[in-house]
């Protein structure tokens, strides 16, 4: 499980570390990624927060696939403990939970994206590549959550920092298309912009989600657990 030389990626493959408390699920993801995805390599896995922190510190993988829901704190706890130490490791939340509260918590703790566990192996590999490349990855559901948080409902508090607390129209459009199940390329075609611009918008939405002071972010999430 912990071969330090594995983590080094000599030939440009992306090293991936799995954190999930269900061994069966880890085995499944590992099998899917090992099979048919040559440029993504699973270098280790952990079933608990402590194990994960120790192993990530040791292995320094490129990407960590992080379960949102685990005993003793879950993905957010792992992020809190390891992220300051290893800023170059990127985290992608992978969860069956779907509770808005949990998802927003991991995103705010620093995950670069969130995908549901029902995602196909190919899409997962694609998401791994994308976060590794510095982009954010939003599943339709996460896009919906974020759109909902930043929506201007009557009675919402005025933004403290408009720069962070509001989405631009373009960002909103991109999120809407994401929530409708569009891929980046399709979004680009739909809005007549380049894929790169789509990525920029998505990254900026992620940054706002993480940094915004908008008090609804926490309140909203606990109020609402629509699935």
């Amino acid at each position: 499980m912990s071969d330090p030389q594995d983590a080094a990626t000599p030939d440009g493959t992306i090293s991936v570390f799995l954190v999930d408390d269900h061994g069966l699920f880890r085995a499944g993801v590992r099998a899917e990624l090992d099979r048919g995805v040559p440029d993504v390599e699973v270098v280790g896995e952990a079933g608990s927060v402590d194990e994960a922190v120790a192993a990530i510190r040791h292995l320094r993988p490129d990407v960590v696939l992080l379960d949102v829901h685990m005993p003793d704190g879950g993905g957010a706890e792992v992020l809190r403990r390891i992220r300051p130490e290893c800023p170059d490791v990127v985290f992608l939340a992978l969860s069956v939970s779907d509770a808005a509260e949990d998802v927003i918590a991991v995103i705010r703790a620093g995950a670069r994206g969130y995908v549901t566990k029902t995602i196909s192996g190919r899409d997962l590999a694609d998401a791994v590549r994308r976060v590794h490349g510095g982009d954010a990855v939003f599943s339709p559901r996460l896009a919906g959550f974020v759109l909902d948080v930043f929506s201007d409902r009557p009675g919402a508090a005025p933004p403290g920092d408009p720069e962070l607390d509001l989405l631009t129209r373009r960002e909103r459009d991109v999120l809407r298309l994401l929530a409708r199940g569009y891929a980046y390329k399709e979004i680009a075609g739909e809005l007549f912009i380049s894929v790169k611009t789509v990525e920029t918008h998505v990254s900026s939405v992620l940054r706002k989600t993480q940094l915004s002071n908008r008090y609804e972010l926490s309140r909203w999430a606990s109020d609402r657990r629509l699935v």
Binding site: A179, R225, V227
Partner: protein
């Protein structure tokens, strides 16, 4: 007898709190006199073992009590008579120092008792009354409590006492004021006794003493109350646990059993698994789901059957079940109660999902619902075969009737986009009446009529 006072206080606080020294001893036997390592009859040692504290404190307590009309001596004697000796011979090592200490304490106790008797001072009697009652109460509670509670109290009392000694400000105030009350009580009594001998002074003394004792034992009472709360909480947790177990049994276990029986039919297994997942999810995170419990506050979503979000989710679930594929609805915005227009929208959306499921040849359909204050937008999208809308035979009524005509009747709009090989997206938009209180007048063909919906399916395009 001023000397007796602080000692008495100590006596009270540490009768319940005598447990203080106890470093959470695993399990304590019944009260038994020690056979070995004893000085007189092993009573003090036995009590110390039972309470889990150092024997020196018990001996000191007896000495202090001896000062109160010889109560310590009497108590010792009674315990000697009524408490049986421990059976097995447990060897204890007694250091010389401890022995000397014990002998010294015993002598001191006898002496104090004699002096108290000689003085015949009834001051002590006034204190002994309330103290005795308090001690008796504590003893009763102690006997009734189970092992775990005793241990908790012991730990709590220890922190309480050390808090008082260790300088928590409130603890200090509490101890000082308690001691003052006790002192006041005695002083009043003394004055009354010497000068006037009036009854009310006596009563005053008693009241002041009781107040003092009460103040001194505040943490202990607080802990008792908290214990009761804790017990209630645990009962609730227990009830909750059995509810979860019951739910898991009724749903998950049953489904797993079904899946095992139908293992040869992947389609059926998939359907069961999806249905179960949805059900569990709803139970956990749904609007009135299990996980929502304590979030409280704010305006809750409308009840299950009347909300737009719920209706759409249900429609998606039906399609998912019927056609054995994944329909993942994403909902944004505040839920709305269903009115005839919105019901039409739900049925149209359902029709769009059914079309995608039947004709697109995909195993996943995306549904995005955005509820804005003045408008609802629904997008149903697949990445399937796609079709040319102009190419649809005229005798197919699915899109024309079930979606377009229905939406038009209710003031909605439909936009259909399909590209061969890339998929189809149906966009349904419905303006919302600014006053949501209106409605429920035109229930025509759009009442949830499953039969009608099925018919539509038959004719669905393309």
């Amino acid at each position: 007898m001023p000397r007796g006072r602080p000692a008495c206080d100590h006596g009270v606080v540490s009768q319940p709190a005598a447990t203080s020294g106890a470093p959470a001893v695993p399990a304590r036997g019944p009260l038994e006199r020690r056979r070995s390592g004893r000085l007189v009859a092993g009573v003090a040692g036995g009590v110390a073992d039972h309470l889990g504290i150092d024997v020196i404190w018990v001996r000191a307590a007896f000495v202090v009590l001896a000062a109160i009309n010889g109560a310590g001596v009497v108590g010792y004697g009674l315990l000697w008579v009524f408490v049986r000796q421990e059976s097995a011979d447990v060897q204890r090592v007694t250091t010389r120092r401890e022995r000397q200490q014990a002998i010294g304490l015993a002598a001191l106790g006898l002496g104090v008792g004699l002096v108290a008797a000689a003085l015949g001072n009834s001051v002590i009697g006034w204190i002994v009354g309330p103290l005795g009652v308090a001690a008796l109460g504590a003893a009763v509670v102690w006997r009734e409590a189970d092992e775990a509670q005793r241990r908790r109290w012991a730990a709590g009392a220890r922190s309480g006492v050390t808090g008082a000694a260790g300088g928590g400000r409130t603890a200090l105030i509490r101890v000082v004021s308690g001691a003052l009350f006790v002192a006041l009580g005695i002083a009043v009594f003394l004055i009354g006794n010497i000068n006037l001998g009036q009854v009310q002074f006596g009563l005053l003394a008693v009241v002041a003493t009781i107040v003092g004792v009460a103040v001194l034992t505040v943490p202990w009472w607080v802990r008792l109350a908290r214990d009761l709360g804790e017990e209630r909480r645990q009962r609730i947790v227990e009830a909750e646990r059995s509810e979860i177990a019951a739910h898991l049994h009724d749903s998950v276990l049953q489904t797993l059993a079904l899946i095992q029986r139908q293992a040869e039919e992947p389609r059926e297994v998939l359907r069961l698994a999806r249905g179960q997942e949805r059900e569990l999810r709803h139970w956990l995170y749904g609007p009135q789901g299990y996980g929502r419990g304590s979030s409280g506050g704010g305006v809750k979503a409308p009840a299950l059957d009347e909300g737009l979000a719920e209706a759409l989710t249900k429609a998606a679930a039906e399609v998912e079940d019927t056609y054995a594929l994944t329909v993942s609805p994403v909902l944004v915005g505040a839920d709305r109660p269903l009115d005839p227009d919105l019901r039409a929208l739900v049925l149209a959306a359902r029709e769009a999902m059914v079309n995608a499921a039947k004709h697109a040849g995909v195993d996943e359909i995306s549904v995005f619902v955005e509820i804005e204050p003045d408008e609802v937008n629904v997008f149903v999208r697949d990445r399937g075969k796609g079709f040319d809308p102009d190419d649809v035979p005229a005798d197919r009524h699915g899109v024309a009737d079930s979606i377009k005509a229905r939406m038009a009747r209710h003031g909605g709009r439909v936009r259909l986009r399909s590209t061969l090989g890339e998929g189809t997206e149906v966009h349904l938009a419905m303006d919302l009446a600014t006053d949501p209180a209106t409605g429920t007048t035109t229930g025509d063909d759009d009442a949830p009529a499953p039969d009608a919906a099925r018919e539509d399916e038959q004719e669905a395009q393309p």
